[in-house]
C-alpha cells in the first residue's frame, strides 16, 4: 500500500477538488475542505525531511515532494491558511469557488514542495489558473475584465519561468530547484518570473487590481498564497542576491503613500500586502540564516494577520455591501467582535509588542542593522511607521470608529467569527510565545525579541506615530476618505497602451486610405485609357478595309524580300 510519502501532498487537494462537485450536502463539502488541509499539515509534520515521490517525465527525474526546513514552514502555513480561509467560506454554496480554493491551495503547496524547476513550473501555472476563478466568481463584467488582466500577467510569469528554466538547463544540465546566481539570461528570466508574482515595484499592480475584485471569501484566500509562494521561491532560489535588498526596500516604501489615500479598504490592504512583502524580500536579499528565518517568520505571521484583516473588511462588505471607507464608520455599535478582531490584526501588522508582527519583523530589521545596511534599516523603520498609518489606524478607525455612517449591520455570521477568532488568537499567541514559531523556522534561532531596548524603541516609534495621527486628525490635516480612482502602473496597460494602439491604428488607417485611393485612381485612369483604345468605340475595335490589308501584306512581303536579298 502506498504511504503518504509516495503521494504528493498537492494531490490530496486535487482529489478533494474532484470530489467536491459530486457531494450533494453543503456541510459535507465544507467539512472536506477543512479536513484536507489538516490531514496534509499533520502528515507533513510527521514525515521528516527528505525527497519523496520522484517520477520520470520526458527524461527528467522530477522531485514532486522535497520536505526540508524551508519548504516545511511554508507548507504548514499554507495548510493553515487554507483551513482558515475555507472555514471563513463555510457558508458558500458555490462549488466553483470551493473547487478553485482547493486547487489553488494544492498548487501553492505543490510548488512549495517542488524539488525541481519543471515541477515548480506546473504548480506555478496551477496557482494562476485556479485563482482566477476566485475573481471571476464575483460574476460581474468588471471582475471578468480584471480576471483577464490578472490571468495574462500570471500566465506570463509562468511562460517567462519555463523559458528561463530551459536556458538554465541548457547552461547547467540541471533542473534542480536550488540557489542560483544572477549570471545568465536563464537565471535572470527565472528571477523576473518570481519578481512578477512577488509584486516587485512596477510589476506590482496586478495585486491591487485583482485582489479587491474577488469575492468576499476569494480575497481572503488569494491573500495567502501567490505572493508568499513567490517569496518562498526567491528564498529558495536567490537567497543572498544583494539586488533584492534594494528592491525590497523600495517595496516597503512606495505602497505606503498609495494606501494612505485609497478609499477601497480591500485595496488599502493590497497595498499593505505589497509593503509587507518588501520586508521579506529584504530578508531574502541579506540571505543569512537569521535573515531567512526572519523572512519565513514574517511570511508566516503575515499570512495570518493579513488574512484576519481581509476577513474583517470582508465581513463588513458581506453585511453592508461596501468596503469603501467613505461609506463606512461607527460599525463597532453592531459589529463589536469583528471590530475587536480587526484591532488585533491591526496591532499585529503594526508590530506592537505581544503581537505576532513584533517578534517576526524584528528578525529582519536586526539583521539589516547587524550587516551594516544602515540606510536600508532606516527605510524599514520608516516603513514600519507607514504600516501603522494605513493598516494599523486607517483600516479599523475608518471602518469601525470615526464618524457614524448610520449603518447598523448585523454581526458577521458565526463561522466567519470563528475563523477570525482563531486567527486572532494565533496572532496574539505567537506574539506572546514566540518560541512556538521560532522552533519551526529553517535555522536555529538565537534571538530574544523582548529586550528593553526593542520594546521601548518600538513603542516610541508607534506611540509617537499615533500621536502625529491624533494631532493631524484633530486639526483636519489627515487625508479625507473620498470616492476616487487613484492612478497606478495599471494606467500604462489600461489607458496608455490602448490609446497608443488606437492612435497607431488611426494613423495606419489614414495612410492606407491615402495609398489605396491613389492606386485606385491610377487604375481607373488605366482602365479608361484601355477602354478608349479597346472598347467598342476604340481604335482597336474598328473593322479594317480589304484594301488596306492588301497594302500591309505587300509591305511585309517587300520587307521579307529585302531581308532575304541582303542576307
Amino acid at each position: 500500500m502506498m504511504g503518504f510519502d509516495q503521494i504528493p501532498a498537492a494531490f490530496y487537494f486535487f482529489l478533494a477538488a474532484i470530489a467536491v462537485p459530486f457531494i450533494p450536502v453543503g456541510r459535507l463539502r465544507g467539512l472536506l475542505t477543512l479536513a484536507i488541509p489538516v490531514l496534509v499539515a499533520y502528515n507533513i509534520w510527521q514525515m521528516g525531511f527528505g525527497t519523496f515521490a520522484t517520477v520520470s517525465f520526458m527524461g527528467f527525474d522530477l522531485e514532486l515532494m522535497r520536505v526540508d526546513s524551508l519548504s516545511r514552514v511554508f507548507t504548514l502555513i499554507f495548510c493553515l491558511a487554507a483551513f482558515l480561509g475555507n472555514l471563513y467560506a463555510w457558508h458558500l454554496k458555490d462549488t466553483t469557488q470551493q473547487v478553485a480554493a482547493l486547487l489553488y491551495a494544492g498548487s501553492a503547496i505543490g510548488a512549495a514542495l517542488a524539488g525541481d524547476l519543471i515541477t515548480l513550473f506546473f504548480y506555478w501555472e496551477g496557482t494562476a489558473i485556479a485563482s482566477v476563478f476566485l475573481i471571476w466568481a464575483r460574476g460581474s463584467q468588471g471582475a471578468y475584465n480584471t480576471g483577464m488582466r490578472y490571468l495574462l500577467i500570471q500566465i506570463g510569469s509562468g511562460v517567462i519561468l519555463i523559458a528561463g528554466v530551459a536556458l538554465y538547463f541548457h547552461e547547467t544540465g540541471s533542473i534542480t530547484f536550488e540557489n542560483m546566481k544572477l549570471s545568465s539570461l536563464g537565471t535572470w528570466l527565472i528571477f523576473l518570473s518570481f519578481g512578477i508574482k512577488a509584486a516587485f515595484p512596477l510589476l506590482h499592480n496586478w495585486l491591487q487590481d485583482s485582489y479587491p475584485a474577488a469575492t468576499v471569501t476569494g480575497t481572503v484566500i488569494l491573500s495567502a498564497f501567490t505572493t508568499k509562494l513567490a517569496i518562498y521561491a526567491l528564498a529558495r532560489g536567490f537567497a543572498g542576491t544583494e539586488i533584492l535588498i534594494y528592491i525590497g526596500a523600495v517595496m516597503t516604501f512606495f505602497p505606503i503613500f498609495f494606501a494612505e489615500i485609497e478609499n477601497d479598504l480591500r485595496k488599502v490592504l493590497a497595498y499593505s500586502l505589497n509593503n509587507q512583502l518588501g520586508f521579506m524580500v529584504v530578508g531574502v536579499g541579506i540571505g543569512t540564516e537569521m535573515a531567512l528565518n526572519g523572512t519565513a517568520a514574517h511570511a508566516f505571521v503575515h499570512i495570518l494577520y493579513k488574512a484576519l484583516l481581509f476577513m474583517t473588511v470582508g465581513a463588513v462588505l458581506f453585511r453592508t455591501g461596501t468596503s469603501k471607507a467613505s461609506e463606512l464608520g461607527g460599525l463597532y455599535r453592531t459589529m463589536p467582535l469583528t471590530a475587536t478582531f480587526c484591532l488585533i490584526g491591526a496591532a499585529s501588522i503594526s508590530a506592537f509588542p505581544l503581537f505576532s508582527g513584533f517578534i517576526a519583523k524584528s528578525l529582519i530589521l536586526s539583521e539589516a542593522a547587524y550587516k551594516h545596511y544602515d540606510y536600508i534599516w532606516l527605510v524599514l523603520v520608516f516603513a514600519s511607521a507607514g504600516v501603522l498609518s494605513h493598516s494599523g489606524i486607517k483600516i479599523p478607525f475608518f471602518t469601525f470608529f470615526a464618524h457614524d455612517s448610520g449603518k447598523r449591520p448585523a454581526e458577521a455570521p458565526a463561522h466567519m467569527l470563528l475563523a477570525m477568532g482563531i486567527t486572532a488568537v494565533l496572532c496574539v499567541f505567537i506574539g506572546v510565545v514566540p518560541s512556538t514559531l521560532y522552533s519551526i523556522l529553517p535555522y536555529a534561532v538565537d534571538y530574544v525579541p523582548y529586550t528593553t531596548a526593542h520594546v521601548i524603541g518600538q513603542l516610541q516609534l508607534l506611540l509617537f506615530a499615533l500621536l502625529a495621527f491624533g494631532i493631524l486628525y484633530r486639526i483636519g490635516m489627515h487625508p479625507p476618505e473620498i470616492r476616487a480612482t487613484n492612478l497606478d502602473t495599471d494606467w500604462l496597460y489600461r489607458r496608455m497602451a490602448p490609446s497608443v494602439v488606437l492612435t497607431c491604428a488611426r494613423g495606419i488607417a489614414v495612410v492606407w486610405a491615402f495609398a489605396t485611393s491613389s492606386i485606385l485612381m491610377k487604375l481607373q485612369k488605366l482602365i479608361q485609357a484601355l477602354y478608349r483604345t479597346h472598347g467598342p468605340e476604340g481604335r482597336m475595335a474598328r473593322v479594317w478595309l480589304t484594301g488596306s490589308m492588301v497594302l500591309w501584306l505587300a509591305v511585309i512581303l517587300l520587307a521579307v524580300l529585302l531581308v532575304n536579298y541582303i542576307s
Binding site: T146, L317, P336, P409, P479
Partner: protein
C-alpha cells in the same frame, strides 16, 4: 446625541461607545501624550547598544516615528493631487465603479 447608547449594543459595543463621548478625543490624546512621555523618558533608564549609530540618539524612535508619520500624510496629500481621478475613470465596467453583486453578500441590518 452621539454618546447615547443604542439599546441594540452589547456590552463590548458599549465599551467602544465610550470613544464617541464629547471629551473622549481629548482624553485619548491626553493619555497618548502621557504614554509618549513615559516611553520617551524611559530612554534614559537603560543603556542603548544599537548597531546603527543614529539610533543611539536619545529618543531616536520617537522623533523618527513622529516625523515619519507626518511626512507620510503630507506626501500622500501631495500624491493625491497628482493621481486622483473620478471613480469611474476606467469606465462603468470596472470593479471600482460598480456595486458589489448581491449574490456574494448577505446584507443584514439590526
Amino acid at each position: 446625541m452621539a454618546h447615547h447608547s443604542d439599546p441594540k449594543m452589547n456590552s463590548l459595543a458599549r465599551f467602544y461607545h465610550l470613544t464617541s463621548r464629547k471629551r473622549a478625543m481629548t482624553v485619548m490624546l491626553g493619555g497618548l501624550t502621557l504614554s509618549c512621555a513615559f516611553v520617551f523618558g524611559y530612554d534614559g533608564f537603560y543603556l542603548k547598544h544599537e548597531k546603527v549609530e543614529i539610533a543611539n540618539i536619545f529618543g531616536f524612535y520617537a522623533y523618527y516615528g513622529f516625523a515619519g508619520f507626518t511626512f507620510i500624510i503630507f506626501a500622500a496629500l501631495f500624491l493625491r493631487k497628482i493621481i486622483k481621478r473620478r471613480e469611474d475613470f476606467y469606465g462603468d465596467q470596472d470593479v471600482n465603479a460598480e456595486e458589489p453583486p448581491e449574490h456574494m453578500l448577505e446584507r443584514k441590518d439590526l
